[in-house]
């Protein structure tokens, strides 16, 4: 496997959900890639399709959801073409995921150490005390004090921050090539949040683990990512290296998003709202889903398809009239 090829390539991924009130096109022709060892941030407001994209990559979509189009190529293998059995072999071993609200994301009636051990036994071919030792080692690696006691603890006895550490231990147990972190620090305290993100960064550096970091918080994404994918209403609207994105955002939505995010030193007057709301993803949608909120729209914006322009190498934008 050549390491110049991206680790993960998502190509034209589309996901639909069937609901009582019609079909929701939650993700529409989303494309991006993740290279070996890098951290890619995905940012967007609620309903932008960032979590759905992640779950589709993992093959963990809710039964009402369906991938209608596209490919997910991980280490040269199309995960969508293969069956559930194939995906199961990748999951937890080479491709891991951690979730928001860690306390409910762990089995409430199984000691957390056992839950880590389950993963170790499954993927690392360890058994008996060696699996247990490995689980204890992982608890120590994620800096949980007193691993011996924490091993026996149940999620309800632990704080949200510690539960998230346990989930990270499960995810990195088998040294995956890619970790998808879906809002890993949302809902945790500021100091805990920083500690969790530090931990993820440390693993990423030590093990050359690539990370797909998903958050609604532009500050978190900006601080932690090498590259950023901006999503809006199921579309990727812009993709660029972090510094470049903040220095010169080209999509009107990205610019608005940056302008509306509070940052130290900014006054209330400096912050500009984004007009309108995320469009209803049911029924007929215009080619550009930002059209109704955009103040730069021209008649050509109503004509399909949604453009995808590479302005400079590595900086693409889905807009006919980029800034």
């Amino acid at each position: 496997m050549s390491e110049t090829a991206p680790l993960l390539t998502v190509e034209d991924l589309s996901v639909e959900f069937r609901t009582r009130d019609g079909i929701v096109r939650a993700v529409d022709r989303v494309s991006f890639d993740v290279r070996w060892g890098e951290t890619v941030g995905v940012v967007g407001e609620s309903g932008s399709g960032k979590s759905v994209t992640a779950l589709a990559i993992m093959g963990l979509l809710h039964p009402a959801g369906r991938v209608t189009d596209g490919r997910v190529i991980f280490r040269g293998v199309d995960l969508l073409a293969g069956g559930e059995g194939q995906r199961r072999r990748y999951r937890g071993r080479e491709l891991s995921m951690i979730f928001q609200s860690p306390r409910t994301a762990l089995n409430p009636i199984r000691p957390v150490g056992k839950q880590i051990e389950d993963v170790v036994r499954r993927h690392a071919d360890l058994a008996g005390t060696r699996a247990r030792d490995r689980a204890l080692g992982l608890l120590a690696e994620v800096q949980i004090p007193d691993p011996g006691r924490s091993y026996q603890a149940y999620p309800f006895e632990l704080s949200g921050g510690v539960c998230q550490r346990v989930m990270i231990a499960m995810a990195v147990a088998c040294v995956p090539a890619l970790l998808i972190a879906d809002e890993p620090a949302t809902g945790l305290d500021v100091t805990t949040q920083a500690a969790i993100l530090d931990l993820l960064k440390q693993f990423a550096q030590e093990r050359r683990m690539a990370t797909l970091l998903i958050s609604h918080d532009l500050a978190v994404i900006g601080e932690r990512s090498d590259r950023i994918v901006v999503m809006h209403a199921g579309h990727v609207v812009e993709m660029a290296r972090t510094a470049e994105l903040f220095r010169a955002p080209r999509h009107p939505y990205t610019a608005r998003l940056i302008a509306s995010t509070p940052r130290p030193g900014a006054t209330l007057g400096d912050l500009k709202p984004i007009p309108g709301g995320v469009p209803d993803l049911r029924g007929n949608l215009p080619p550009c889903r930002y059209r109704a909120r955009c103040d730069r729209a021209i008649p050509a914006c109503d004509e399909p398809p949604l453009p995808r322009v590479e302005l400079t190498p590595g900086h693409t934008v889905a807009c006919r009239v980029p800034l």
């Binding site: 500021v190 920083a194 940056i258 995010t261 130290p264 912050l271 709202p273 984004i274």
Partner: protein
């Protein structure tokens, strides 16, 4: 300096811990004052007691001890269940964190806004009531067509506007804002913050703005209180606290806030371990001791009191008592 609108003296609130005879000290001897027309920010992490404190001030909860003085009258002695009939009820209102949770799902926007007007006797008769509801809706920028809708038919931003309209309909003097934007998307958050700033100007209200997000608190507040484990550890003008934090906890908190531009990052102060349990914490140990990177033996012997280190700036830390007038080595 005029007379404070709100003065809280050594207020505390204990809750029984289920299944034991022990008590949880949610708020433990907190004192603060709010001047008319100010916006005071209250920051702290989840479980630090800030929600309990605002509910004590809002008179939704009864304090275990201490005094709550509003406009010169001790309102802490009126039991919460009877406070609905107190004269001050209309003067102290509140906006809650989650608009979905704080709006009655079976009330239309109109009924929600009209409820305090009806109950608090400001505008009982029908045509006048409608005018007052419309007026409140106009103030928060809620179009009148939306007034007939139920909460689930409104967007998150519109829901929060309804909640704000309800709170300001009776023209309160003190508006308590309990994380008013943390359930909203960032694009809506800005809109609501602008709205709150405008309303304060227009109606001359006083704000107590509670949030865990320091970036937000600094946008609206003149003065900031930092709470940790049931106690206030630092208080001072917003500029001073954010630019020159003194208490080790404030410093750690500020250093953990994510910043977009890597150039602006302060060196991270890492905190060890977990916060101290609020269940019957020892009265003679600083609450931050054990996590504090600067802690020393005196912190284990004696609880530091909130003391002025500068004009208007107070810190509860022994570092400043032993070396008065100096700040931590920067």
């Amino acid at each position: 300096m005029g007379v404070p609108l709100l003065e809280v003296h050594e207020v505390s609130r204990l809750f029984p811990v289920r299944g034991t005879r022990r008590w949880l000290h949610a708020v433990d001897g907190v004192s603060l004052s709010v001047m008319p027309g100010e916006c005071v920010g209250l920051v702290g992490e989840s479980g630090c007691g800030k929600s309990t404190l605002v509910r004590l001030i809002a008179r939704l909860l009864d304090p275990t001890g201490g005094r709550i003085v509003f406009d010169g009258r001790d309102i802490g002695t009126v039991p919460a269940w009877r406070f609905a009939r107190a004269a001050e009820r209309a003067w102290i209102q509140m906006v809650f964190q989650d608009p979905v949770d704080s709006l009655n799902p079976r009330f239309t926007a109109f009924d929600t806004i009209a409820d305090p007007l009806r109950r608090l006797g400001v505008a009982p008769e029908r045509p006048r009531l409608r005018d007052r509801v419309w007026e409140a809706a106009d103030l928060v920028g809620l179009s009148r067509e939306l007034l007939g809708r139920f909460p689930h038919q409104l967007s998150g931003g519109q829901q929060q506007r309804v909640a704000i309209a309800r709170a300001i309909a009776v023209r309160p003097r003190l508006l308590l804002l309990d994380e008013p934007t943390s359930a909203l998307d960032v694009s809506v958050q800005v809109v609501i913050l602008h709205l709150l700033a405008d309303l304060q100007q227009k109606l001359g209200m006083t704000y107590l703005f509670v949030s865990h997000d320091l970036n937000l608190v600094r946008l609206l507040s003149n003065r900031v209180l930092v709470m940790y484990c049931g106690r206030i550890v630092e208080a001072g003008p917003a500029e001073a606290v954010f630019n020159r934090p003194d208490h080790p906890y404030t410093r750690a908190l500020l250093s953990a806030v994510p910043v977009v531009d890597p150039g602006e990052r302060r060196p991270r102060i890492r905190l060890a371990g977990e916060p101290r349990s609020p269940v019957e914490p020892p009265a003679t140990v600083c609450r931050f001791y054990g996590r504090c990177p600067e802690g020393f033996e005196r912190c284990e012997r004696e609880m530091p009191a909130l003391r002025p280190i500068d004009r208007d700036h107070q810190v509860a830390c022994h570092l400043f008592e032993s070396r008065p007038g100096t700040t931590l080595g920067e």
